[in-house]
């Protein structure tokens, strides 16, 4: 039986979710809900779209993936472990003293981390410079910037959105995790950002909005973005509506929290639910 792209991505996302739960248990809490929500999105990126060498994170010809949303590092570490850049055995050091995998990834010492995120609204500005710089150097690498709907509050995101369109950075793709939640509560109540598609379109971007937990839809959207990617052209944004805690019903239905508390006896339950859900879907 041949494995389809979607199956390959789905299996990667499943293993990544287990990594996320394992790392979350080390801390006893954390950004587990968001990370489970974007596992499909990062699985599509790392298992299907991104050009990189797992064993050589500084390979000059690599596409760039910038994690603007620094606290999602737990999700990216899962993707990097799945890809082979970070040994799976290292994940248990997540957030611990002396670890290369701090709560918010550091470009200076975390393998596969292009920028040090954490202060929100930075990633897209840096991505604009990378895309401009790579184009000037005659290189046709793509630049992906991962950001969250909360980062659409930041004015700098829109400075960068206008700049990317003005400079016609056709190899730049932004992916936005629209999980509808930020630190103080639902995005709708903190600072309304809808209609988000219209805002990106008005800023001059090729805009798609998809169910961020539908792997077929994600693949189609990324393929459409890749199809249009060229050195001088329209930048592309994929707004991905994701479900916090996706894959673990216990967490999907729990009251949504930016920093989710999970009790000691619940972690195994979470893992069991994740495994059951994945096997049931086969």
């Amino acid at each position: 039986m041949t494995t389809t792209r979607a199956e390959k991505v789905r299996d990667a996302a499943y293993r990544m979710r287990h990594h996320i739960l394992d790392m979350g248990e080390v801390q006893g809490q954390g950004y587990v809900g968001q990370a489970l929500g974007v596992a499909d999105l990062l699985a599509v990126t790392y298992a299907d779209q991104l050009r990189f060498r797992a064993d050589d994170p500084h390979w000059p010809d690599r596409d760039r993936f910038l994690l603007s949303t620094g606290h999602y590092a737990i999700a990216l570490y899962a993707a990097l472990a799945e890809a082979g850049t970070v040994p799976v055995s290292e994940l248990e050091t997540y957030g611990s003293d002396g670890s290369r995998l701090p709560m918010s990834g550091m470009a200076s010492y975390t393998p596969g981390m292009e920028i040090s995120g954490g202060s929100l609204g930075h990633g897209l500005t840096v991505a604009v410079g990378m895309a401009l710089g790579l184009r000037l150097k005659g290189r046709h690498q793509r630049v992906f910037n991962f950001l969250s709907d909360g980062e659409l509050d930041e004015g700098s995101t829109w400075e960068a959105a206008m700049g990317a369109a003005h400079h016609q950075l056709g190899l730049l793709t932004a992916m936005v995790d629209m999980n509808a939640l930020q630190a103080d509560g639902p995005t709708k109540g903190v600072l309304g950002i809808e209609p988000a598609e219209e805002k990106w379109e008005a800023a001059g971007w090729f805009t798609q909005r998809v169910d961020g937990n539908d792997i077929d839809a994600l693949l189609a959207a990324f393929d459409a973005a890749a199809e249009r990617a060229r050195p001088v052209g329209q930048p592309s944004v994929i707004l991905c509506d994701t479900r916090i805690g996706r894959g673990v019903p216990l967490l999907e239905t729990r009251e949504k929290a930016h920093f989710m508390r999970i009790d000691e006896d619940e972690w195994q339950l979470c893992r069991d639910q994740l495994t059951e859900g994945h096997e049931g879907a086969r």
Binding site: E114, H122, T125, G133, S156, G163
Partner: protein, 330 residues
């Protein structure tokens, strides 16, 4: 209204502080950057809608394909400069000092300084070099930037400093901040046995009564005041410290550690700039030495004509002379 009663006006955003008849060089930063780019293809220039006002337009005309207009968006300016440095380019990114220091600090700090990227921040209108008022007077830029790890801070005196600094800023591995003097910039230091060396202070002249420790345009005023004070039989040494951070404490303290009157001169608020840099070096060394600051007051400054303001806030040559004579009880 007769000219005799007409008051001086602010006249322009960027007033020249060159004295009448003084030798000047036009846009030394822009020409130096354009020349450097001829032999170093990593050099790129960016600005946030202030190319003409930071002399970046000279570079843009010489190397249009390597010039990037980022619009009036300072966070994008410096974030993008970081991205360019990440892919191996050496950006010089210009705006006014107020906007670099006040609007874009987080981007400079986290995207550029923390990863030690070779991004060169070029800030126009440092200290009191415009009469436009507090919105454009970066009187506290050094105070803001001195706390940022990894950042080299350069406060040039004149066109000689700027021309010689630009290649050294590009060569330095980490980020730098240049307090830009633009337009017709005085040429002063070629009259001395002097070469700009990043990170180094230089004794421009010796003197037995007073030691001036100065940076930026105040070195020009220090040299003028020293000439004037000689007429009063006061012999003044001048130590120019164009690099504020890292600070060349060795050269400066060798001069400070004497029984002469020590005076710091800076185009910056008395809080957090050269005076405090010298004072902390003096205290750290355990020298029980009084240091007299000549600096801007810790307040938001008036708008007005630049000569009026330099006089009012103590940066003019004659006010420097008067202050020193008063300190010496003469």
């Amino acid at each position: 209204m007769t000219t005799a009663t007409k008051r001086l006006t602010t006249s322009a955003m960027i007033a020249s502080f060159a004295d009448p008849g003084q030798r000047t060089a036009s846009a030394p930063f822009g020409h130096a950057l354009a020349a450097l780019a001829e032999r170093d293809d990593r050099i790129v220039g960016l600005t946030a809608d202030l190319g003409k006002y930071t002399d970046m337009h000279v570079f843009a005309q010489a190397h249009p394909e390597r010039f990037f207009q980022m619009g009036m968006a300072e966070q994008l300016l410096f974030g993008a400069a970081a991205g360019m440095a990440e892919v191996g380019l050496v950006p010089f990114a210009s705006t006014y000092s107020v906007f670099a220091a006040r609007r874009a600090y987080d981007f400079l700090c986290l995207d550029i300084a923390e990863p030690k990227l070779n991004v060169n921040i070029v800030g126009g209108l440092p200290g009191l070099t415009t009469g436009y008022g507090p919105s454009h007077q970066a009187t506290e830029d050094v105070a803001i930037f001195r706390g940022m790890p990894n950042l080299t801070i350069v406060d040039p005196c004149d066109s000689v400093d700027i021309e010689q600094a630009v290649p050294q800023l590009a060569e330095a591995e980490g980020p730098t901040y240049l307090r830009l003097l633009r337009g017709k910039v005085p040429t002063v230091l070629d009259e001395y046995d002097y070469t700009f060396r990043l990170g180094k202070a230089a004794v421009l002249r010796g003197g037995t009564d007073v030691v001036f420790v100065s940076s930026g345009l105040m070195t020009m005023r220090a040299l003028q005041a020293a000439e004037e004070l000689a007429k009063h039989k006061v012999d003044v040494a001048v130590v120019h410290t164009p690099t504020i951070k890292p600070f060349d404490a060795e050269t400066v303290l060798a001069e400070v550690d004497s029984d002469r009157l020590v005076v710091t001169l800076e185009n910056h608020t008395v809080v957090g700039g050269l005076f405090e840099t010298v004072a902390s070096a003096v205290v750290s060394r355990g020298l029980g030495k009084r240091v007299v600051p000549i600096a801007l007051p810790d307040e938001f400054l008036d708008a007005g004509a630049l000569p009026t303001l330099h006089e009012r806030y103590g940066l003019a040559t004659d006010t420097v002379v008067a202050k020193v004579l008063a300190e010496l009880d003469r």
